[in-house]
Symmetry: C2
Subunit: 361 residues, 2 copies
Amino acid sequence: MFARDELERLAPPFRRNGRPHESNGEDYQHLDPVAATEAIAYDFLTKGGKHSRPFITLATYHALSQPESLSGNGRPSEDDGDVPSFPDAVKRTAMSIEIFHKASLVHDDIEDDDAYRYGHETLHRRFGTPTAINVGDYLIGMGYRLLSGESATLGSDTVADILDRMADAHVKLTEGQGAELLWRDSRDKQLTTTDAIRIYELKTAPAFEAALYAGLRLANRAGQYGQAVHDFARNLGVAFQILNDLGDWVGDDHNKLAAGTDVLGGRPTVLWALALEGLSQSEKSELVSLADNTAEAPGDAIERVRRLYERADVFGRAARLVDSHRSEAITVARSVESSRLKQLLLYLVGKVLDRPESASK
Amino acid sequence: MFARDELERLAPPFRRNGRPHESNGEDYQHLDPVAATEAIAYDFLTKGGKHSRPFITLATYHALSQPESLSGNGRPSEDDGDVPSFPDAVKRTAMSIEIFHKASLVHDDIEDDDAYRYGHETLHRRFGTPTAINVGDYLIGMGYRLLSGESATLGSDTVADILDRMADAHVKLTEGQGAELLWRDSRDKQLTTTDAIRIYELKTAPAFEAALYAGLRLANRAGQYGQAVHDFARNLGVAFQILNDLGDWVGDDHNKLAAGTDVLGGRPTVLWALALEGLSQSEKSELVSLADNTAEAPGDAIERVRRLYERADVFGRAARLVDSHRSEAITVARSVESSRLKQLLLYLVGKVLDRPESASK
């Protein structure tokens, strides 16, 4: 979807006379400044990503816009053999979902001062924080505009409904992100499991829900499945995020990731909250002091955090939280009437939570 | 409009349990992190501003939703004696226009590293750049969501049309802002008058147009006056910005502003472009070298820039550009059929360009 040609066909750039080149980090100096923001943004859009959100939108739309009788093979739509074709307006909607995600990555990378994204230097490292903030803002506007321009094709009811959900997800995402940032700056590092899960419900679940909702609404089935998809996304999002937290302790030789980066980065995780709830007062104090003092000997601090997590049975309890949210997502998925949508949701549980669920279960 | 009570009535906060207090810059530490982003954003919204954009929306709506026969007094609507009352959905639309503006200020202040806004420390100085970026993102989402939630009251056609114009203005604003930022980082500091004006057309005019358009569309008159308002906003925006550039050289004892801050800040102004076009090669080189070396003795550098500007008749030529854009705006204003809208547009020319135009002219 984000091949340069397809991107430019679906979202024609307005100011074409200039484009930064990969070979030379300074080339934007020679661009027409009026064209540069668009050029940097379009380049970033083609850089990488799993595109799971637009896939969800397209697959949901596809599942619900095919005759139910064709769905008997029990496989999600992208495995049907032929690649389905979609109206451009549907593709633009899916693309706008991805563009919002990309915009949030540009700003997240500044907020975390990350150096690399998709194997390239992050935008703020390359162009400076001011330009990177602004390119993120451009992408947000582009996300809204791609969809807001489709009233003539999709009808304004559909456009207004999807925009409303996107704006709602946008606000929730920033509330969740804000909670993370303010917690990172906090001194006492207190956190309840309830609050950690509330943050996940804001930061992770709404993007899943918006992607699913867009597909439903494009297929005119939002009334029928809106509530199910809301419940499904909440459980899937929370389970996905806790699984992510657990993955941070496995380490990953392949990607050269160290363990415990969430503790080092000051992220408010469910694991941290479970530890605070399961430890004695003195152990709690030790845990908080470790988070404040990771700079000196991060490896040692992380090992001590791990031992405290083990003492509080954090890993086991978190895994059970994943299981309960996964089960709930599966229960919701099984409750939907459309067998194609049911199959898709079960497929997503397996795919997103990385343990394939058999469709026959 | 942005009294705290009215803001919270029209846009009820979701997460009320906490709010930072003015008296203590560290108080956000004691907030529920999930409530903090909203609390910081709502506080910022009540801090100040001229509210010219929402005024334009409300006044345009008011001008076109009154019977023409009541408009004979030739005065803009806010002088009619009684303060007009507006439906909440109309107020929310105007409010969303202002919230977009406020969001752009939060990000602009980071991009320029300004220390104060509305007499208070800027958000990034108070809460750090990561949280300030995110609060700006929250406000953008809030701006869209305030309007996207009004399909039931305004109809989805109106909502989708206004959102489309807002998203269009949003994209253009970031393109204009991006051009300024990239020009500031450029080494050769070249600029044509045409490009300087293109930047103003992106950075200043679309916000005026979106505010006017929203008023038109709410009154169901966008088809009739959309093109006039587009032309009017372009000319008004460009004239306003050049007048602003000129004001930067007047100095201002009252506000303790120094002259030449645009040169010191590396802004691509029409004045700079006119100077490059009017000076000899050696004078041009001197001008560019002055911009690179303002750090040592800014006062001296600014005085030399001023002399070069005078030599190239920059101030006279810029004033004539203001006059021609003002005249064009007045011509467009006089061409509109509705006498109330005509009066409003002429009033705005006088107000925004700070030289009152008599309505009888």
